[in-house]
Amino acid sequence: MKGLTTKVIKSGLISWVVLFGVWGIVSLFYTDSFFPSPIETYRGFREIVLSGKLREDISISVWRVLLGWSRALLIGIPLGLLIGRFKFVNWFIEPFINFFRFVPAIGFLTLFLMWFGVGEESKLILITYASIFPIIINTVAGVKAINPVKYQAAESLGANKFQSFVTVTVPGAVPNILTGARLGLSTAIISIVGAEMLAANSGLGYLVYTSRLYYRTDWIFVGIVTLGVLGFFADKSLRFIAKKSLKHYGVTG
């Protein structure tokens, strides 16, 4: 019994119950179109689930996030490894990174629309842009955290520069690469709303942004909650997979 109580407290369930309680109480003071109650939100949720709209929005957003994020991984990880390992790459690229990482993706939204059109491409580039910086920065930190003794060991076993890059730098940076991937995934999900606010006709961001036009505040709430839940489970599953498969690389979850 006692074990169960601790489990419930640890799971964060109580916080959620409190949140829903407060939400319910606050909503009593306002109209449904200004601040919908949890029950009203649930009704709206049922409505768009049954019409298939929510499923469509989720799948298109998830697809965009995954595609944009994978591109960020594909570019960011090798770049981070090179920056971390080779000084001259670092000297050349670091100034750009330290400039552009402070410019939020939303700042580029209209530019990307202008340059890459109103189709999928501009949205994907925006998501890639938003998620690539935490990936690069964490990968670099991972490379720098590798103890020089590992390189000395590799070199005195006959490894050349290229071999030690492949066999020491890459596996040695894995724990931080994973941290970068997780942070990148969360910024990708965050940026989806911005990407879909303009020039989209589907997706969760589109749902959140356009529902206001129809006074469907409950749908906005549904969109927000769905984004949170998606992010939560995406992170959980990424951590779970990494913990199972990358244990020996020092990934502890």
């Binding site: 590992k150 060991a153 590799a154 070199e155 005195s156 076993l157 006959g158 066999t167 596996p171 690389y249």
Partner: protein, 310 residues
């Protein structure tokens, strides 16, 4: 033991590389933290030594004495400031597979993402040796260090002593000509240390490799080495004396004669340490004196004259 010189160290000096001091700390050995040197001082000054092929040679000295610096120069991890270090008459310019290194800290040195088997195969893989042969050679090395049956395990499933065995097996499998060992048993408990020392002697006898072994433990030095080089303390450390250990293996440290030998070695080491401390002190005074400025030197001289006059 042949009479051929394997490693020759001639007039080697190493100046404190203040800009790159981090290099000195790379081994998890922070002995250099408390170095009392000045940036113009030398860690090592005019070191000369010849190590014969197949020899088991010990570097013995207090922590921070410069023995690890010399070892890092032989391993190729550090550059010397002047002098020459040669392996088989060829100048050492960087790390190489012909000089295997067993590091003090096995946790840092072995690759946690590889199994024991893959760790031991590493050097062979870098050489591009075929899979089947790699597997066989590695298995031989694993058997040699007594880790048979643990090939598929990952380092985090092994004890400290076993990890150190993995490191030794990994170096042996790559078949180096010289095995360089930096206080490899320092972090182990007494029991494990003794077992590994005995195993190291039998591996040395089986493989006939030249071994360069660094330690600050005098009884370990006497237990293992054919020759012991005694180091003075940095700055300006050097090898003050190289003494042969005139006893057959296996050596019984409880034997009275060997016990006496340990005692006399201890005395020699202490003498070397106190002599260099005195020298450092004298130099410190000279330096302080210089820093006080010329003016005082003049007065000092004047006083000398005065006293002569009196």
């Amino acid at each position: 033991m042949s009479e051929k010189t394997k490693i020759s160290i001639e007039h080697v000096s190493k100046r404190y590389d203040v800009g790159n001091k981090a290099l000195l700390f790379t081994k998890g050995n922070y002995a250099h933290d408390n170095f009392v040197g000045h940036e113009t001082d030398y860690v090592l000054k005019d070191v000369n030594l010849a190590i014969k092929e197949g020899e088991f040679h010990i570097f013995l000295g207090a922590s921070g004495c410069g023995k690890t610096t010399l070892l890092n120069i032989v391993a190729g991890f550090l550059d010397k400031t002047s002098g020459s270090v040669q392996l088989d008459g060829k100048e050492i310019k960087g790390p190489g597979a012909e000089r295997g290194v067993v590091f003090q800290n096995a946790d840092l040195a072995i690759f946690p993402w590889l199994t024991v088997q893959k760790n031991v195969e590493y050097g062979l893989k870098m050489k591009g040796i075929k899979k089947e042969e790699r597997r066989k050679t590695a298995l031989d090395a694993i058997t040699l260090v007594g880790l048979k049956g643990h090939e598929k395990k990952y380092p985090d499933e092994l004890s400290g002593g076993m990890k150190q065995r993995v490191q030794i097996a990994r170096s042996i499998a790559a078949n180096p000509e010289v095995l360089i060992m930096d206080e490899p048993f320092g972090a182990l408990d007494a029991q494990t240390r003794r077992t590994l020392q005995d195993e190291l002697i039998s591996i040395w006898k089986k493989t006939g490799k030249t071994i360069l072994f660094v330690t600050h433990d005098i009884s370990e030095a006497v237990y293992l080495g054919e020759n012991i080089s005694i180091f003075s303390v940095a700055p300006d450390a050097t090898i003050v004396e190289t003494i042969p250990v005139p006893y057959l293996y296996p050596r019984d440290v409880n034997n009275k004669r060997i016990g006496d030998f340990v005692k006399s070695t201890t005395e020699k080491l202490e003498k070397a340490i106190s002599a260099s401390r005195k020298e450092h002190e004298r130099r410190g005074q000279v330096r302080a004196f210089k820093e006080r400025g010329e003016e005082e030197i003049v007065t000092e001289e004047k006083r000398d004259k005065d006293s002569v006059a009196v």
